[in-house]
């Protein structure tokens, strides 16, 4: 028991949670936005990979870090356009299109990366985001190192979650998005163009996913390797369900998952005689339980995965 307590009482754990959660927050918010308008975006895994690569590449070539993030966002937006073209304009299966985007974006990232960066023993690095020092707060005992030694994108992620919650529930455009995800025909009958709404959300959502990917190469680590997203995109898709399509809960879900992950990492080092793979599995197993508990009460957007065709019944 004291082992558990020691882990919980270390500021390092809490700092790690926020760090691990950041890409998940961006990714989950991105996927959530798309799904609120009725589009499942399984391109997430590939879009995150591409964002991680292209953001890193921009910085590697001398751009500053925020420009790197912006480049990643733009690349995500472009993949969003591709996914919308396939699913909104052509009305193709959202699953198939999303998986296609993931396969394409992942291999394309690796291709571009290899074009520019030759194979080397140790991968080249960039100077990543540094923790920002918040006067007064960062120097508090425990609280400071636990919560206020993060890099700027982490704070940005939390702010984006709050803004998105506000937009979805308190603005006309948020209502239009929700109506489109519930019943695009009704949205159309009220003068909202469901096609435009879907394009907009998929583009912005995909940009957020790519920013989540860029966090990995520009803040959490400092170099790129092709497998680095490691299924985070899929976790985000599950987190959207866990969050019942609510941004506030998505933030909480991402933090909860990060907590499991950070905790098992530390447990690995203190508990002996158990293969470390068991620990690696635990966050996923716990997530499945959490999902099973939460998802039963979730209200799925009614028009999720249904293509909208104008002028048809």
């Amino acid at each position: 028991m004291s082992v558990v307590f020691d882990i919980l009482a270390s500021a390092g754990l809490w700092a790690a949670i926020l760090r691990i959660a950041t890409p998940l927050i961006f990714g989950t918010l991105g996927a959530l936005l798309c799904e609120r308008a009725g589009v499942l975006n399984l391109g997430i895994e590939g879009i995150m990979t591409f964002g991680a690569m292209i953001g890193w590449l921009a910085v590697f070539h001398g751009a500053d870090l925020w420009t790197g993030v912006l480049v990643a966002a733009i690349s995500g937006a472009l993949f969003g356009v591709l996914h919308s073209l396939l699913t909104v304009t052509l009305g193709l299966s959202q699953h198939v299109s999303g998986l296609g985007v993931t396969l394409f974006a992942s291999s394309f990232s690796y291709y571009v990366f290899r074009l520019v960066v030759p194979v080397a023993g140790t991968p080249p690095t960039v100077m990543p985001f540094q923790p920002i020092d918040i006067p007064a707060l960062s120097s508090l005992p425990f609280i400071g190192p636990a919560f206020f030694t993060q890099t700027a994108p982490t704070y940005l992620a939390i702010v984006v979650a709050l803004i998105m919650a506000y937009i979805i529930f308190h603005t006309p455009v948020g209502l239009a998005i929700r109506m489109t995800g519930e019943n695009p025909h009704a949205a159309e009958a009220q003068g909202v163009n469901p096609m435009k709404v879907r394009y907009g959300t998929v583009i912005v959502g995909s940009a957020l996913m790519a920013v989540g990917g860029a966090f990995l190469t520009l803040s959490a680590f400092n170099s790129f390797f092709p497998t680095m997203v490691q299924g985070r995109g899929w976790i985000c898709i599950a987190l959207v369900v866990f969050a019942s399509w609510r941004p506030g809960r998505a933030l909480f879900g991402a933090l909860l998952f990060a907590f499991f992950d950070a905790f098992q990492l530390r447990l690995q080092t203190v508990v002996e005689g158990v293969p470390y793979q068991i620990f690696l599995m635990t966050p996923y197993i716990l997530s499945i339980f959490a999902l099973a508990l939460m998802a039963r009460r979730a209200r799925v957007p009614q028009a999720l995965m249904q293509p909208y065709r104008r002028g048809e019944r």
Partner: protein
């Protein structure tokens, strides 16, 4: 009359081979109520969809207060003062009433929604027109009647001066329908202009000032309500005289389906309680009641899509345990579900696929579906049941509501079911189709099929049923013989007064 608020001038619309609207012209005056009448597939919904900007017409134009409306733009129609209540509601069940009403009413990029002001406006409109509603209720929790109120409020909230209602009473109970028409008349007195579509001639005669009849996409007649009759309208609509079939007396055979003390609980709520009935070969047992009194769970239990909580079901004298849909089909039970779009057909599939779906093994060879046999079967249904607007290979989604119903009925009756469970079989059908469907049901009865007719239409039950039981709050009254039935007594039974029924009871 003063200048019309709305003019439809020479509107045509073609879908593939079907000319849904063929040079239609009509007008609407201020404070006027016009009823649009026509067979299933006559093009009524299409015309109204063009008016509201859902479809772009191939030809013709719409004018409001003399000004042409740009085609294909719902937003323009809304701002010109047109409001539409759709045949299939266009509402979002996960959003609240207020959210449904507010969507699209504010500038999209405003930084906040003026929810309080909107709520105030909604409540005041609701009061002015006597459409009571809770703005914060989740739409999916409301009854159909209340949902329709929301649809109307949505239009009024957009300051509609012209209101279009596509079959507004198809899903309402009689009482709800009466209340709706009282409201509509009040609206007309307050200066609104209304067009409503209906198949029910009684309400058309009672509520409309003027009636326009469509047939095959053309206007065939326009009449003042005071200068026409139900019989004339029915004839204009169908193009020939229609008479509903009459039931011949017959002697029923053995009991094929018996239900004892049936109970169903859903989510802790008792939906059916102590339900008893016996259904015999060659008879029609009518279950009459205002919708929402347990008809849906009853039909679903007997169709194998809902498990009972208590009670016994005897099929051909044998007690049966849990009924699955497969058992039901194998036992020769045909079903006509109430929710056609949801449970009756799969819109994305073709007509022939829908026709054979229930009996795939019968239409398969070595694990492959026999497409040719399926097509032939679908063709035979289309011919025998007069399904219009589709071929075996065309999409089921494109059929008009009434024709979809004929397809379902045909699929079930073609296989000579021993038992037929028909829930609201004539809902949404035109006069001609109602007569045809009734004739089919009586034919099946004559051939020995036991028919359980679940309906809320008094005329339908009186003309088809041999015995009648009322369903009230999940309970069934004792049966009443057809000979002892009149509308007054049925009305009493539907309101839960069973004292008269009890004396007529005789166990089958």
């Amino acid at each position: 009359m003063t200048t019309p608020v709305l003019e439809i001038i020479g509107v045509s619309k073609r879908f593939g081979d079907t000319l849904a609207n063929d040079g239609i012209s009509m007008s609407l005056g201020k404070g006027e109520i016009v009823a649009l009448l026509g067979e299933n597939g006559a093009g009524k919904t299409t015309l109204m969809s063009i008016l509201f900007g859902h479809y772009v017409p191939d030809d013709g134009q719409i004018r409001i207060d003399g000004e042409e409306l740009p085609p294909g733009k719902p937003r323009a129609a809304i701002s010109a003062g047109v409001g539409m209540v759709h045949q299939h509601f266009s509402l979002a069940s996960n959003l609240t009433v207020l959210e449904n009403v507010m969507t699209g009413t504010e500038r999209l990029w405003k930084l906040w929604s003026a929810t309080q002001a909107a709520r105030k406006k909604l409540v005041s409109i609701a009061e002015r027109f006597g459409l009571k509603i809770d703005p914060d209720a989740r739409l999916g929790d409301l009854s159909v009647g209340e949902q329709q109120r929301v649809e109307i409020l949505k239009a009024l909230y957009n300051d509609a001066r012209i209101l279009i209602l596509d079959e507004p009473t198809a899903v309402l109970t009689n009482i709800e329908a009466e209340r709706l028409f009282a409201t509509l008349k009040d609206m007309a007195r307050q200066g609104l202009s209304l067009i409503f579509i209906s198949h029910k001639l009684d309400e058309v005669m009672a509520a409309a000032h003027r009636i326009v009849v469509l047939r095959g996409g053309k206007v065939v007649a326009g009449r003042k309500a005071s200068e026409t009759s139900k019989a004339e309208l029915a004839e204009l609509m169908v193009g020939r005289r229609v008479t509903r079939p009459v039931r011949e007396p017959s002697t029923p055979g053995a009991v094929v389906l018996e239900v004892r003390d049936l109970g169903v609980r859903i989510g802790g709520v008792e939906r059916l309680k102590d339900v008893d009935f016996a259904l015999r070969e060659g008879e029609v047992l009518g279950i009459i009641g205002v919708s929402g009194n347990g008809q849906v769970p009853l039909a679903r239990v007997l169709s194998g899509t809902l498990a009972r909580t208590s009670g016994e079901i005897l099929l051909y004298g044998e007690p049966v345990g849990h009924l699955s849909v497969g058992d039901v089909v194998d036992a020769g039970i045909g079903r006509v579900p109430e929710d056609r779009n949801g449970e009756g057909v799969i819109g994305e599939m073709s007509i022939w696929e829908n026709a054979v779906l229930e009996r795939l093994p019968a239409y398969s060879h070595n694990g492959l579906v026999d497409r040719k046999a399926g097509m032939a079967f679908a063709k035979s249904i289309i011919d025998a049941f007069d399904v219009r607007g589709g071929t075996p290979a065309s999409g089921t989604r494109l059929l008009s509501g009434g024709n979809m119903q004929k397809l379902i009925l045909g699929r079930n009756l073609s296989h000579r079911p021993r038992i037929l469970i028909a829930a609201q079989p004539a809902r949404g059908l035109d006069e001609g189709a109602v007569a045809a469907v009734h004739a089919r049901i009586l034919e099946a009865r004559k051939a020995g099929t036991a028919v359980l007719l679940i309906s809320e239409d008094l005329d339908e039950v009186i003309s088809l049923a041999d015995r009648i039981q009322a369903i009230v709050a999940g309970r069934l009254s004792p049966p009443l013989d057809a000979g002892r039935i009149d509308a007054r007594r049925l009305g009493l039974m539907m309101s839960g007064d069973w004292s008269h029924a009890a004396e007529a009871t005789h166990a089958p």
